[in-house]
């Protein structure tokens, strides 16, 4: 069962890491799905 628990921890690490990377790269979800990205200003 060790592989399963390591995988679950890996999922958490990847999710948090992805959030941080996308945030710093300017691709945070709250940025790309809100003005000015999607609205006519």
């Amino acid at each position: 069962m060790k592989a399963m628990f390591i995988a679950f921890v890996g999922i958490i690490v990847i999710a948090v890491g992805a959030d941080q990377i996308l945030h710093h790269a300017g691709f945070a979800i709250d940025e790309v799905t809100s003005a000015p990205s999607v609205r006519l200003d």
Binding site: M1, K2, A3, M4, I6, A7, F8, G10, I11, I14, A15, V16, A18, D19, F27, I29, V32, T33, S37, V38, R39, L40, D41
Partner: protein
């Protein structure tokens, strides 16, 4: 008195001329013609057809964009500047009939060229998407999942747990090594999270808000969306890993036909068709996961990066070239899609694939846990009982151990 009569007569004439001009400009249908009861506007029949997802002839709206040549003069009653009323102007705007605004896409059916999302002012397909999402998608998706669970319950009541016919031997053999189990649980764990949060996004409005209220659902939806967006990367990593590690074991071959011929022995005791590392049923799951997983990943990426990765116009273009829509009696698929329409199609496709995927995985989870004795050990500890291996993967057992799995004639030959 004569002056008053003259003025009144003038007004009458002006009114007649004005009304005639308006009648020409708006092309009000005569009694008996379609939409005469609403003066040419939308009727109850139109609304009902739209609600039932039927095609509505919108020419009464699309073509009603005014005509300066026949409009009332600016100094006449009901005369408009430029001969076009506000309503007519916005209808023309919506249907891209304003030549001077050629670079602005006003709707999904406008001219191609400018694909930037901010060039779209009026977008018509949003309501179609919303109707599909809260109608057929929710209903048939729900039926599929409940139906799958129902079938498995019936199967369990009919067949019971599939036991090791020869009984446990007490000796084990390594079925999956650590990295294989890690990849499996990475994709499995992330899939469960994605499925639960995806279902929450779709069904929350109907099954959570009525019981918990908006205030309670809001954080569930927000955190659920965060989980869905970010856990998706683990899913894609796991998908790549299992594909690389297992694709060579999942190439279809003649053994699969033998497996299918006896339904893998699922419905009868002491029937064990020969199989290598993966039997035909597992190959179906593998290719289902790979193909559905790849498709849902692409549409998911399209949703993760809005308007950056449109894919349906190109896909439809290829399908039209192949003649597939025409083959089934459909018109060619639209290839001039507004960016918002691309997003709506991506979301709809993402959800459709997700429902099929979830139905497949529910079956996989069943047979890998309560449905079959000894199956969970393969992914739990990685060690399976030798008798289980002989019965379900006899040829693989022979390859790994060098010992015979079958007492009588070799079933693979």
């Amino acid at each position: 008195m004569a002056r008053i009569s003259t003025k009144f007569l003038t007004l009458l004439v002006a009114a007649f001329v004005g009304l005639t001009s308006v009648a020409v400009a708006q092309t009000v249908p005569a009694p008996g013609e379609p939409r005469a009861e609403t003066g040419g506007a939308q009727t109850l029949a139109d609304i009902l057809r739209r609600q039932e997802q039927q095609k509505v002839d919108d020419s009464f709206r699309r073509d009603n964009i005014g005509n300066p040549e026949t409009a009332a003069p600016i100094d006449g009653q009901l005369g408009t500047r430029g001969g076009v009323s506000d309503s007519e102007f916005w209808r023309a705007y919506r249907y891209n009939e304003l030549d001077e605004l050629g670079t602005v896409r006003a709707s999904a059916k406008g001219p191609s060229g400018d694909t930037s999302v901010t060039s779209v002012v009026i977008q018509s397909t949003g309501m179609e998407w919303l109707s599909f999402r809260k109608g057929p998608l929710k209903d048939y998706g729900g039926y599929l999942l409940l139906g799958t669970i129902g079938i498995l319950v019936l199967f369990f009541l009919f067949r019971g747990r599939i036991m090791i016919d020869g009984g446990k031997s007490g000796k084990t053999i390594t079925r999956f090594i650590g990295i294989e189990r890690f990849a499996h649980w990475t994709i499995a764990g992330s899939f469960i999270l994605l499925a639960l949060t995806g279902l929450t996004q779709l069904f929350g409005r109907f099954f959570i808000i009525p019981y918990l209220g908006h205030e309670a659902f809001a954080p569930i939806a927000i955190y659920g969306k965060w989980i869905h967006n970010n856990v998706s990367w683990a899913f894609m990593l796991g998908l790549v890993m299992v594909f690389v590690m297992w694709v060579s074991h999942n190439i279809p071959n003649r053994l699969d036909l033998k497996w299918f011929a006896v339904a893998g022995g699922l419905f009868s005791k002491n029937v064990h068709p020969p199989a290598k590392k993966f039997n035909a049923g597992q190959k179906v799951v593998f290719w289902g996961v790979v193909l559905l997983g790849a498709s849902i990943s692409v549409s998911g990426l399209s949703l993760l990066f809005p308007f950056e990765m449109p894919m349906f116009a190109a896909t439809f273009h290829h399908l039209n070239d192949l003649g597939l829509p025409q083959l089934v009696g459909l018109d060619p698929l639209p290839t001039d899609l507004a960016p918002q329409t691309e997003m709506q199609l991506a979301q709809a496709w993402h959800a459709i694939v997700a429902f099929v995927f979830m139905a497949l995985i529910i079956g996989h989870i069943y047979i890998g846990s309560v449905g079959m004795e000894g199956a969970f050990d393969a992914m739990g500890s990685g060690q399976v009982d030798e008798q289980w291996a002989k019965e379900h993967h006899g040829l693989w057992y022979e390859e790994v151990t060098g010992k015979p799995a079958y007492h009588d004639s070799h079933p693979a030959e």
